[in-house]
C-alpha cells in the first residue's frame, strides 16, 4: 500500500482527448518526495529545452503535495508547473485552498496535461470517473463564475474547481489560475492553461488517504496544533505585525496599510510616499476594509484565516488574500476602496495581482513620457481610476495596446521600443517584482533576489529576521526558544548582528553566513513545495510550527519513507538542482541571476560578486551557475550530467542570449 500519496497520476492528452490512469514509481517519491520535486523530474524528462511554452508538447502539471490530504494541518498546496511564457523558464506557482486534498481523495497525486484541445473544454474528475467536457458555454466567463456554473451543471456542490478567466483564455502572460480563495498566479501559468484549451478542472473525491504510522503521525499533528495555538497567543515582539504571527502575511486581518503605503513604491514602482499616511486616511481605509470584508477564511484543514471574502458595494463577492489588497491601489495612486473594487474584476478575469497593476502603471508612464501616445489609447477615459479599468479590459482581451501589454513589461517594452525598456525596470528574469526600492544593499536579500528561481521574493525569504534587533536583550530573547534553526550557529549570527557599526550590513552577516542563511531559507521553501505545505506555517514566518527537525518525522510516519534531516536536505537539494538544470538547459546563466538594477541605491559590486561566487560554490554550481559534474553525480542526477555533456552545456557556458523571441509573436 502507498501511504500519504495515492500512487497514481492522471495523464490527459488534450489533443487526442485521451485519459489514462498511470501508476507511479515509489522510488521517485523517495528521491524527489512529491509535488514540485516529482513535477521537476517529469518536466526534465519530457519537456526538452526546444519545447516552447505554447507548444502542444509543453506539459501543464497540477500536483498535490506528498502530505496533502493527510491530517497534517495546513498541508493543502497544489503545485502547478509548466514552462512560463513570460520567463521561458520553469514556472511553479502554488495555490492553497481545497483543490489538492480533493484530488488526493479522488485517488490521484497529479494531473498531467499535454497537447491542446481544439475547443474549449474542462476536466471533471469524480473519483474513478474522469471525463473531458465541453466548455464552449463558459468561454469568456469569469473564473469564479465558471466555478459556480460547473458546480451547478454537475450538481456537485462539493466539487473543487480550478479555473481560468478571460486572461488565461487569451494567453495573457500574467494570467492566473483561480480556485476560490486561492490562486496560482505567477509565471503566466494561466496562459498555458488557456493555450491548451482548458477552462477548468473540477474534482470531487470520496476515497481514503492512508498514513503509515497513525499514532505517531497524530502525535506530530497535535504538537503542530498546540504550537500554532501558542504562536497565535504569543506574537513575536519587536517586528512589524504582519511578521509577528503565523500564516501568509495577515493582510486581510490587520490594518497595516500605513507600513506598506509608506515603504513600498507607488505607480510603476517609482514613488515612495513617506508621510502619506494620516489619521483621516487611517479612518477611511479602516472603514473601507471593515465594511467590505465579510469574513476571514482559511484553506483546507488549517486553523489560520489568511483570506477573506470581500463584497464591494454593488459588486459580487469574491475572495482575496495577501498583498493584492494594496497593489492596485498603489499602482493607481488611489485609495483602498478602488483597490478592492478593481480586484474583483481582476480576479474574475484571472490575472496576477503583482504583475497586473504594474503593467498598467507602466503603460501610463510610457504615455506620460510620450513613448505611447493618444493613438495607442483610443477612448481611454481621462480619470486615473477609469484608465486602470480601461487598460485591464483591453489587456485581458488583447485588444489594441492591450495585446502588447498582455505580454508583461519586459516583452511589451521590447515591442514598443523608443526607450520603453528603461521603464520595464522592476523585473527579474523578465518577471515583474514587488514594488520595492531601497537604499542600501542587503546581502541576504541580494542573494535571494538574484538566485531565487521562483522569482518572487516571498517564495524564498523567511525564517531569519529581516533586520537586526536593536538591543542585545531583544536578540537574546529571540534566540531563546528558536528551536527551528538547523544549526546553532544561526543563533550566534543573530546575537552578533547589529543595526550599525562593525557587525552590520552589508558586511555582516559575512558572505559565508549570508550563504548559509539563504540556503536554509530556500531549502525550507522547496521542502514545503514538495510536501504541499503552506509556506505560511513553515518557510515564510519566523518560528513556524513546521521545520527541518519535525519534517523528517512527518514524512516517515506519514508516507512510510525512512527520512532524517540529512536525507531530506539532500532530497530537497536534488530537485532544487534539477530545476536549476532545467533552466540552465533553457539558457539561464549567471547573467540572469541579478536583482532589478535599481532595487538598491547603494550597491557593492565587489561584495555582490563575492556573494554570488560563494553561494554558487555552496550550492555546487560552477561560476556560471551551472551545477557541476560532482554535484550532479553526488545527487544521483547522472542523467542530467549526461544530457549536459550531450548538449555541450559546460563548454557553452554563456548560455542563450536572454532576449529570445516572445512566444506570443510566434503564435501557432
Amino acid at each position: 500500500m502507498r501511504y500519504a500519496e495515492t500512487g497514481y497520476n492522471l495523464e490527459i492528452d488534450l489533443t487526442r482527448g485521451s485519459i489514462e490512469r498511470v501508476a507511479t514509481d515509489p522510488r521517485d517519491t523517495e528521491l524527489y518526495l512529491g509535488g514540485l520535486g516529482t513535477n521537476a523530474k517529469i518536466l526534465w524528462e519530457r519537456v526538452p529545452p526546444e519545447v516552447e511554452p505554447f507548444s502542444p508538447d509543453n506539459l501543464l502539471i497540477f500536483s498535490a503535495g506528498l502530505l496533502c490530504g493527510t491530517p497534517a494541518p495546513g498541508c493543502n498546496r497544489t503545485i502547478v508547473s509548466t514552462v512560463s511564457p513570460q520567463t521561458l523558464l520553469m514556472a511553479f506557482s502554488m495555490m492553497g485552498g481545497f483543490w489538492a486534498p480533493e484530488l488526493k481523495y479522488a485517488g490521484y497525486d497529479k494531473v498531467i496535461f499535454r497537447g491542446k484541445s481544439p475547443d474549449l473544454v474542462y476536466l471533471w474528475i469524480n473519483n474513478d470517473k474522469v471525463e473531458i467536457r465541453d466548455a464552449s458555454h463558459l468561454k469568456g466567463k469569469g473564473s469564479g463564475e465558471t466555478a459556480e456554473l460547473i458546480r451547478k451543471e454537475l450538481k456537485e456542490p462539493h466539487a473543487q474547481v480550478a479555473s481560468i478567466g478571460m486572461a488565461g483564455e487569451n494567453r495573457v502572460y500574467f494570467a492566473s489560475i483561480e480556485q476560490g480563495r486561492s490562486s496560482a498566479s505567477r509565471g503566466g501559468i494561466g496562459a498555458v492553461m488557456g493555450d491548451k484549451g482548458l477552462k477548468a478542472i473540477a474534482v470531487r473525491g470520496t476515497k481514503d488517504i492512508n498514513v503509515a504510522r497513525p499514532a505517531e503521525f497524530m502525535a506530530l499533528c497535535k504538537e503542530v496544533l498546540e504550537y500554532i495555538k501558542f504562536r497565535n497567543e504569543n506574537p513575536i515582539p519587536g517586528v512589524m505585525p504582519i511578521l509577528a504571527g503565523l500564516g501568509s502575511p495577515q493582510e486581510m486581518k490587520i490594518h497595516d496599510e500605513k507600513w506598506h503605503t509608506e515603504n513600498f513604491m507607488w505607480g510603476n514602482s517609482r514613488v515612495r510616499r513617506k508621510g502619506f499616511w494620516n489619521d483621516e486616511i487611517a479612518k477611511q481605509w479602516a472603514e473601507t476594509l471593515d465594511s467590505m470584508r465579510t469574513r476571514l477564511i482559511s484553506c483546507y484543514n488549517c486553523p489560520m484565516k489568511c483570506g477573506a471574502t470581500i463584497t464591494p458595494p454593488g459588486l459580487p463577492t469574491y475572495m482575496m488574500k495577501c498583498f493584492s489588497k494594496l497593489t492596485y491601489t498603489m499602482a493607481a495612486y488611489s485609495d483602498l476602496a478602488f483597490g478592492l473594487e478593481i480586484a474583483q474584476r481582476a480576479t474574475e478575469y484571472g490575472v496576477d495581482g503583482f504583475s497586473t497593476p504594474q503593467v498598467m502603471a507602466f503603460a501610463l508612464e510610457l504615455y506620460e513620457n510620450g513613448i505611447l501616445t493618444d493613438d495607442d489609447f483610443p477612448g481611454m477615459p481621462a480619470d486615473n481610476e477609469g484608465r486602470f479599468y480601461w487598460l485591464l479590459d483591453r489587456i485581458v482581451r488583447r485588444e489594441g495596446i492591450g495585446d502588447v501589454l498582455a505580454n508583461g513589461t519586459y516583452w511589451a517594452a521590447k515591442q514598443i521600443g523608443k526607450g520603453a525598456e528603461a521603464f520595464a525596470h522592476n523585473n527579474i528574469k523578465k518577471h515583474e517584482q514587488l514594488p520595492l526600492k531601497l537604499s542600501m544593499l542587503n546581502p541576504i536579500y541580494f542573494l535571494m533576489y538574484a538566485t531565487g528561481e521562483k522569482i518572487n521574493i516571498t517564495q524564498i525569504e523567511g525564517q531569519f529576521p529581516q533586520a537586526p534587533f536593536p538591543t542585545r536583550e531583544e536578540r537574546e530573547a529571540f534566540v531563546k526558544d528558536w528551536f527551528q534553526v538547523p544549526d546553532e550557529k544561526f543563533k550566534q549570527i543573530l546575537l552578533d548582528w547589529e543595526p550599525r557599526g562593525e557587525k552590520s550590513m552589508p558586511y555582516y552577516p559575512t558572505v559565508d553566513m549570508c550563504c548559509d542563511i539563504v540556503d536554509w531559507q530556500e531549502r525550507m521553501h522547496y521542502i514545503d513545495d514538495a510536501l504541499g505545505m503552506c509556506a505560511g506555517l513553515s518557510s515564510f514566518p519566523l518560528k513556524p510550527p513546521y521545520h527541518i527537525h519535525n519534517y523528517p518525522k512527518f514524512i516517515s510516519a506519514g508516507a512510510g519513507i525512512d527520512m532524517d534531516e540529512e536525507t531530506l536536505t539532500k532530497a530537497a537539494k536534488r530537485y532544487r538542482t534539477l530545476i536549476r538544470a532545467f533552466n540552465i538547459g533553457r539558457g539561464m546563466r549567471r547573467k540572469d541571476d541579478k536583482p532589478p538594477e535599481n532595487h538598491w541605491k547603494k550597491r557593492f559590486p565587489e561584495l555582490e560578486k563575492e556573494l554570488l561566487d560563494a553561494y554558487y560554490k555552496l550550492k555546487g554550481w560552477n561560476e556560471q551557475g551551472i551545477p557541476t559534474k560532482e554535484t550532479l553525480l553526488d545527487l544521483g542526477l547522472d542523467y542530467v550530467f549526461e544530457e549536459f555533456e550531450r548538449r555541450e552545456i559546460y563548454s557553452n557556458s554563456e548560455g542563450a542570449p536572454s532576449e529570445d523571441a516572445s512566444p506570443e509573436t510566434a503564435k501557432n
Binding site: 490530504g69 493527510t70 491530517p71 494541518p73 481545497f98 481523495y105 469564479g144 459556480e148 456542490p157 476560490g180 480563495r181 473525491g205 470520496t206 476515497k207 481514503d208 488517504i209 492512508n210 498514513v211 497513525p214 499514532a215 503521525f217 497524530m218 496544533l225 500554532i228 495555538k229 497565535n232 465579510t294 469574513r295 476571514l296 477564511i297 482559511s298 484553506c299 483546507y300 484543514n301 488549517c302 486553523p303 489560520m304 484565516k305 471574502t309 459580487p316 463577492t317 469574491y318 475572495m319
Partner: protein
C-alpha cells in the same frame, strides 16, 4: 417508557460566526473513526459536515443525527439574516434524499457518537481540532428518561433492511455465517 436516571448530556455549541471554513472537523472525525484509528481519513465519511458556500457567506457545521428510511414529505428552507440556506440545510438525518452522512462506498448511515472511546476522549475530536472555537463542548448532568440505546450495528442493519428487504438481508447473513463457520 424508561425510568428516570441521571445522565451526562454532552453538547456542542456551534458558533457559525467563528467558523473559517477549514473542514478540519470533517477530516479529523473521519480519521478518528477509521480502523485502525487514524490510519486513514476521508471527509466524505465524516459525521460532521460543513455546508460551505463562501460567496453567500454560509458556513454551517451540521452533525449527523438519526438514520431515516424515508425522506420528509416536504422541504424546508431557512432564510436568516438575508442568507438563504439550502433545502434541508439544518437537518441532521442520514436520509435517502441526499448523500450526506452515509459511507461513500456502502451507503450505510453515519451518526455522530460524540467520539465515544475507551478511555474516553477529553473532548470530541472535532472540537479539539477547531482552534477557532466555532465548536464548544460542554457536559452537564440532567435527569432523563432512559432510552434503549440503539447499537450502531442495529442502525446499519435497519438501513440494509429498508433497502433490500428483511428476507434478503437474513438470507445473506445466514449464508455469510455459514461460510465463516466452514
Amino acid at each position: 417508557m424508561g425510568e428516570k436516571k441521571k445522565k451526562i448530556v454532552k453538547s456542542i455549541t456551534i458558533d457559525v460566526e467563528k467558523c473559517n471554513g477549514c473542514r478540519a472537523c470533517e477530516m479529523i472525525c473521519s480519521a478518528f473513526h477509521a480502523t485502525p484509528q487514524y490510519s486513514s481519513n476521508n471527509p466524505a465519511r465524516s459525521r460532521i459536515r460543513l455546508i460551505r458556500d463562501p460567496l453567500r457567506d454560509i458556513y454551517l457545521p451540521v452533525y449527523a443525527g438519526e438514520y431515516t428510511p424515508a425522506e420528509c414529505m416536504g422541504r424546508d428552507k431557512y432564510v436568516i439574516d438575508g442568507k438563504e440556506y439550502d433545502e434541508c440545510g439544518f437537518c441532521r438525518a442520514s436520509c435517502p434524499s441526499r448523500d450526506a452522512f452515509k459511507e461513500p462506498d456502502s451507503k450505510l448511515p453515519l451518526k455522530c457518537d460524540m467520539c465515544e472511546d475507551d478511555p474516553p476522549q477529553e473532548k470530541p475530536l472535532c472540537v479539539q481540532w477547531c482552534l477557532n472555537d466555532a465548536l464548544i463542548y460542554e457536559e452537564r448532568e440532567e435527569e432523563v428518561e432512559e432510552d434503549v440505546k440503539v447499537e450502531d450495528v442495529e442502525v446499519g442493519l435497519e438501513s440494509m433492511i429498508d433497502k433490500y428487504g428483511l428476507e434478503k438481508v437474513m438470507d445473506t447473513i445466514s449464508r455469510m455465517a455459514a461460510a465463516k463457520r466452514s
